[in-house]
């Protein structure tokens, strides 16, 4: 029987929600990878909390439905325990640009091999429409009925400044493009960051705006950090400007954090001996090998 990779859980996203696009595109990418020989058992999805995170209920693969803002540390633990796993984070913009921002910067800094998909609807969906760090200046949400007083973060610029080795943007109404970027992210060794402009049909429907302002990158050289930086700064998530979709930056020469974590666990016998040695050495019964603390 062919697995559809969709669980029987009832889908409760709103009609028109961009999350459907991410769910189905990711499913397709995973199936494609399976055809290419990547076992799905070796894939793990980690989600935060928010509308986006329901994808953990819907996608029929291993998943850790974590807490608000914390996809990355969970995913990091999984990856360091088992560097052979493919680990995907599906996070929200409130989730990972507000509550959990520090983890995001550290994942980029470490260049840990994760695929980071941010469902960036630029609003807190599940808690009914407050501003997030990528909402435009003057956004009127339920916690800021008079409009926000702060400019948004530019997550692509932040990721470039933090050391991410793949930095991309996609859009839920550009399905083929989205599929390509997700596949590229999964194939990338290192921290692959993908900001997906995701339509929130209920609280911040930017379909018209995005349709008008987005364009597909072509001909850019993703190994050129300076060009990437220039593209990243084109649109500041607030002021009208062309919005590039695609991979701004990709580099493969950087050290990958999890490379240092491939050691196999000791057997009980080995461990017994190691502990024995640590004890004996403290009583001078073994030549000092490891320096004592």
């Amino acid at each position: 029987m062919k697995r559809t990779l969709i669980t029987p859980a009832r889908n409760t996203w709103c009609p028109g929600c961009g999350n459907f696009a991410i769910l189905h595109t990711l499913r397709d990418v995973l199936l494609e990878r399976e055809r290419e020989g990547h076992s799905l058992e070796q894939t793990v999805l980690v989600s935060g909390i928010g509308c986006h995170a329901k994808i953990a209920d819907y996608l029929d693969i291993n998943s850790f439905y974590a807490i608000h803002g914390r996809t990355i540390p969970v995913a990091t633990g999984i990856k360091l325990a088992h560097p052979d796993l493919s680990v995907i984070c599906c996070a929200g913009d409130g989730d990972c640009y507000a509550e959990g921002l520090d983890h995001l910067v550290f994942a980029a800094k470490r260049n840990i091999d994760l695929t980071m998909i941010v469902h960036d609807n630029r609003v807190y969906g599940l808690t009914t429409g407050q501003y997030t760090p990528t909402s435009p200046l003057n956004f009127k949400g339920r916690s800021t009925p008079g409009g926000t007083h702060e400019k948004p973060l530019n997550p692509l610029a932040l990721m470039l400044a933090s050391g991410a080795t793949m930095v991309s943007r996609a859009y839920t109404r550009q399905l083929d493009h989205l599929r390509g970027v997700l596949a590229e992210g999964m194939a990338h060794r290192g921290f692959a960051f993908i900001d997906v402009l995701q339509i929130c049909a209920s609280f911040f429907d930017m379909t018209g705006y995005y349709n008008e302002h987005t364009y597909l990158l072509s001909g850019n050289d993703p190994s050129d950090f300076w060009e990437a930086w220039k593209i990243a700064r084109e649109w500041d998530y607030s002021t009208d400007a062309p919005i590039a979709l695609g991979t701004l930056y990709r580099s493969s020469g950087e050290p990958v954090y999890d490379d240092a974590y491939h050691s196999p666990p000791q057997s009980q016998t080995e461990r017994d001996a190691a502990v024995r040695a640590l004890i004996d050495r403290k009583a001078g019964r073994l030549p000092p090998g490891v320096k004592d603390a």
């Binding site: 058992e41 666990p265 000791q266 403290k282 009583a283 320096k291």
Partner: protein, 551 residues
């Protein structure tokens, strides 16, 4: 001289902790058992650090006296601040380059310089002088020094020798009969116990007094294959640990109160997701930043109920290095067996104190295998079970999709809002409790020492139980130490307290947290001796306080 105490003091940065440890080892190799208290303020250079090493041949030791037999003074402050610890017989050996007017002066700084050593090597001179003064043979001393100062060993030995030769022999410490016992800090013993029980990964953000575990496990990782991670924050620590566990690595974390606060959200996630994790929490005086390098027992109530919502947890509170070794291992097994968070709750006194480790009599815990799921049925992460415990598989597992979830969920780990499933899941969690109680409510969950038949009992937990044992034995009292605090070992505790007509709780906090717990379990405490200045009791102080209360 059957019960010998030496104090060494100087400035932070002068290696007092290390020198105290080496003196401990010299005595340990003579067959003594050792307890070293290390006192230091929160600064890196200067100030005043001191260590009191108490040593008794062949006999367990946990606490220190008000007075000492020898003072080794690297600086003037040591002499000034510890005058009250001197008796008529106390031998004071001082660094005469920095200290005026003391019985025995040795110019150790000059010596160190003359021998071409670094300033910090001066303390080798003081160690040498100590050995000389107490009739410890040079060969014996040099043997230990060679092991403990492998870098520039010849210079260190030359400095020590000059110290050794510079002082007259004052007394001869008799040797004990025992083989040398290794000396460990509580932190190291915890690390070792976790390793012994099959730890795969340790994740921590530095925080006094728990950092020693991180340092020890990181340092020994090349030998143990342990994965050690120091990430960006305690929030990351707690979540990473659960990522590790989900992917099959037995993992522990370590912190102190402030860092633990940041772990409570993740702790609650462990409660709901049933992903195991061991939390070592080493207490220091709070609230908040408090007094980072001193000791306290103020976080028991917090640990017992931390995290929103209700879920079972296992909390043990070892008080000795042997208990720390054994119960850290048990905590690891228990967490994985019951898929609940386990705590090893200790305090600075144990974490950073140095003690002889009675290896032969320490419980050696090995990794317990977990029951496999029924291979005939599709795997369900939260499959219902009479005892609430679903078989635990971890990713990757061929043919299985493994979903864990912080939301209320069904047997497959899919989110639910159905009242029946929510109630079922709550009950599944709670059904573990009676099984956990059956497992831990055994006599070894509560230690009885002193005179087990005495009608007056001293109740203690954590490091304080060491001194309480000794004082109880002195005063012919019973000492009761619950090693397990959650789930509460009701019958073991009642058994341990049976026949008492008076219970005096001794705690290092201001409200009597163990006393409250005991009362909640039907054993009210009659008197409380509380201390909350970060300092340990000396034997005489505690005996005096007890006498007062009991008079």
């Amino acid at each position: 001289m059957k019960d010998f105490s030496v104090l060494i003091g100087g400035k932070a940065g002068e290696g007092i902790n290390r020198a105290g440890f080496i003196i401990g080892r010299i005595l340990a190799r003579m067959g003594y058992r050792i307890a070293m208290y290390y006192d230091y303020p929160s600064l890196i250079r200067g100030g005043h650090n001191f260590a009191i090493i108490r040593a008794i041949p062949d006999t367990a030791v946990a606490a220190h006296h008000t007075t000492v037999d020898c003072i080794l003074a690297l600086d003037q402050n040591t002499v000034l601040l510890h005058g009250a610890r001197k008796t008529r017989d106390t031998v004071v050996i001082a660094n005469s380059d920095a200290v005026k007017d003391e019985t025995i002066g040795v110019p150790i700084q000059t010596i160190a310089r003359e021998e071409g050593g670094l300033p910090i090597m001066a303390n080798a001179g003081l160690i040498g002088a100590f050995c000389g003064a107490f009739g410890i043979s040079w060969d014996h001393a040099a043997g230990v020094l060679r092991e403990e100062m492998p870098r520039d060993v010849e210079i260190n030995l030359a400095i020590a020798r000059r110290g050794f030769d510079a002082v007259p022999r004052n007394a001869t410490l008799p040797a004990g009969k025992s083989l040398e016992m290794p000396l460990f800090t509580g932190n190291e013993a915890i690390g070792l116990g976790l390793l012994q029980a099959g730890l795969d990964a340790y994740v921590a953000y530095p925080m006094t007094p728990s950092s020693g575990i991180l340092h020890y496990l990181a340092e020994t990782a090349p030998e143990t294959g342990l994965k050690v991670v120091h990430p960006e924050s305690e929030i990351a620590v707690m979540l990473m640990a659960q990522g590790f566990a989900y992917a099959g690595s037995r993992t522990a974390v370590g912190t102190s109160g402030g860092g633990f606060c940041l772990m409570t959200e993740g702790l609650s996630m462990a409660g709901m997701s049933e992903v195991p994790v061991v939390v070592v929490l080493s207490q220091r005086p709070g609230p908040s930043t408090g007094v980072p390098t001193y000791s306290a027992q103020g976080d028991l109530g917090f640990v017992l109920s931390a995290g929103q919502g209700e879920f079972p947890r296992f909390v043990c509170a070892p008080g000795t290095v042997e208990q720390a070794f054994e119960w850290s291992g048990r905590a690891l097994n228990l967490s994985w067996k019951y898929q609940v968070p386990s705590f090893v709750l200790v305090d600075k006194a144990l974490s950073e104190g140095i003690y002889s480790f009675d290896d032969a009599n320490a419980g050696r815990i090995r990794k317990e295998p977990l029951p496999a799921p029924d291979p005939a049925r599709p795997y369900r992460r939260y499959a219902d079970a009479p005892d609430g415990i679903s078989a635990l598989l971890t990713v990757p597992f061929p043919g299985s999709v493994i979903k864990v979830n912080s939301y209320a969920h069904d047997e497959d780990g899919l989110t639910t809002e159905s009242p029946e499933t929510i109630a079922w899941l709550t009950e599944k969690r709670m059904r573990k409790l009676p099984v956990m109680v059956r497992e831990i409510d055994r006599p070894d969950a509560v230690v009885v020492a002193g005179n087990p038949d005495a009608a007056t009992a001293v109740l203690a937990w954590g490091a304080t139980s060491g001194i309480c044992s000794e004082v109880a034995a002195m005063l012919d009292l019973r000492m009761v130490q619950p090693l397990v605090l959650s789930p509460f070992p009701q019958s073991a505790f009642s058994g341990a307290c049976a026949g008492t007509d008076r219970i005096v709780a001794v705690e290092e906090n201001a409200t009597g947290q163990l006393a409250r717990l005991a009362a909640a379990h039907g054993i009210p405490v009659d008197n409380q001796i509380l201390r909350y200045d970060g300092r340990p009791f000396s034997i005489e102080e505690l005996a005096g306080r007890l006498a007062e209360v009991l008079s």
